[in-house]
Amino acid sequence: AQRVTQPEKLLSVFKGAPVELKCNYSYSGSPELFWYVQYSRQRLQLLLRHISRESIKGFTADLNKGETSFHLKKPFAQEEDSAMYYCALILGNTGKLIFGQGTTLQVKP
């Protein structure tokens, strides 16, 4: 079954500390994965797409097919990074986007 798992509901770090938000997926096809961010009471915004291999706001994510993971990383967290982060997997030609449960990142001063 297709599934996205984010094992941590809450991740709390101090400003300047490294951050890693975990994401694992289960999918029989070739996965296309995304990270979305939702700041407090705002819309979801696309943060990263694995196919573009980009770095946005200092965040990167590498697809590891062997470990079926797509962890989101940032070397030095900022207070403005505090938000809910969702990992998502797109399913084939239906375009259905399956989300993980979300991880709240709290960056303390």
């Binding site: 296309e32 979305y36 819309r43 696309l46 809910m84 399913l91 239906t94 375009g95 449960q101």
Partner: protein, 114 residues
Amino acid sequence: DTAVSQTPKYLVTQMGNDKSIKCEQNLGHDTMYWYKQDSKKFLKIMFSYNNKELIINETVPNRFSPKSPDKAHLNLHINSLELGDSAVYFCASSQGPGQSYGYTFGSGTRLTVV
């Protein structure tokens, strides 16, 4: 110039009422979606339309009926509202089903049923 706009932003209504949420996108996208975010912040797809044609219809009570008059609009009508319908409903669009560019989301409609 909002890409995906939803109205209303907030909706408080009594159980048993019928209500509609409207969504419009000006991105020229072919595909639109409705997602529900529950109280635990879990996001689940409800419906998807591609060029006015329904392509995804998840296990949603038939009190929920989507309507797409054209590819830029996708409305959600809910009959006989129940307490459990309280959630944030997000509209989204993408260039097409299965596109790798991801979705563009609206700002959400917070529905509270009392």
